[in-house]
């Protein structure tokens, strides 16, 4: 156990936040399209980087649930679905929430 980088537990944890976000959003919005992109490496070493490799994400979500909702309402819907992830467990979450019509 003198090589921590070889710890299999770390390997299996990588990407777990991405997966958690994906599952929560799928359940909440049954999206037509969903991209969860981990941008953390681009922010490495800056103030919001906690060293976890899971500090910055971008979400692109296309769902009929957003029809008739303002930008503010859509982001609130996504934030609510993600509970304590935005701003607390993840430093930064960029959200692009579109209806199927807008995504075409």
């Amino acid at each position: 156990m003198d090589k921590p980088e070889g710890n299999p537990q770390n390997t299996s944890m990588a990407g777990s936040m991405e997966e958690e976000i994906r599952v929560l959003l799928k359940d909440a919005f049954a999206p037509e399209r969903l991209e969860v992109i981990n941008d953390s490496a681009r922010h490495s070493g800056h103030a919001g980087d906690d060293g976890s490799g899971e500090s910055h994400f971008t979400v692109v979500i296309v769902s009929g649930s957003f029809a008739g909702k303002s930008r503010l309402e859509r982001q609130r819907m996504v934030n609510t679905a993600l509970g304590d992830i935005p701003g607390q467990r993840v430093h930064a979450l960029a959200i692009r929430a579109l209806t199927p019509d807008e995504a075409r």
Binding site: L72, Q75, P86, G87, Q88, R96
Partner: protein
């Protein structure tokens, strides 16, 4: 209303445009705050900025006040507009400039 809520509503009531951000317009401490500053500068409006890193009470309080989990946050004439994603979408659609005109926000000096 708690002390912090009345402090924040005082700030957003006293200024046409208020950006709650990390760092200052000259030295933003986060890419999203930096983007928000760039957008407001492009719009050419005068705005007040509040550096939440210098004020822990506001840093926590603003999230509950706006019911919004992240910084930056933009207020125009007392109304919460959103964070940097919404600012960027509105700016790209020309809506932010229109809104500033409609609300008769003062231009930057």
């Amino acid at each position: 209303m708690s002390d912090i809520n009345s402090r924040i509503s005082g700030i957003v009531g006293d200024n046409d445009v208020v950006l709650f951000m990390k760092g200052t317009p000259l030295f933003p401490q986060c890419g999203f705050s930096s983007r928000a500053v760039a957008i407001l500068d492009h719009c050419g409006v005068a705005y007040e900025s509040v550096d939440v890193l210098q004020d822990m009470e506001i840093r926590q309080g603003i999230k509950a006040f706006s019911d919004w989990p992240t910084i930056p946050q933009l207020y125009v004439k007392g109304e919460f507009l959103g964070g940097s994603d919404i600012m960027m979408e509105m700016f790209e659609a020309g809506e932010l400039q229109t809104l500033m005109d409609e609300k008769q926000v003062a231009k930057a000096e």
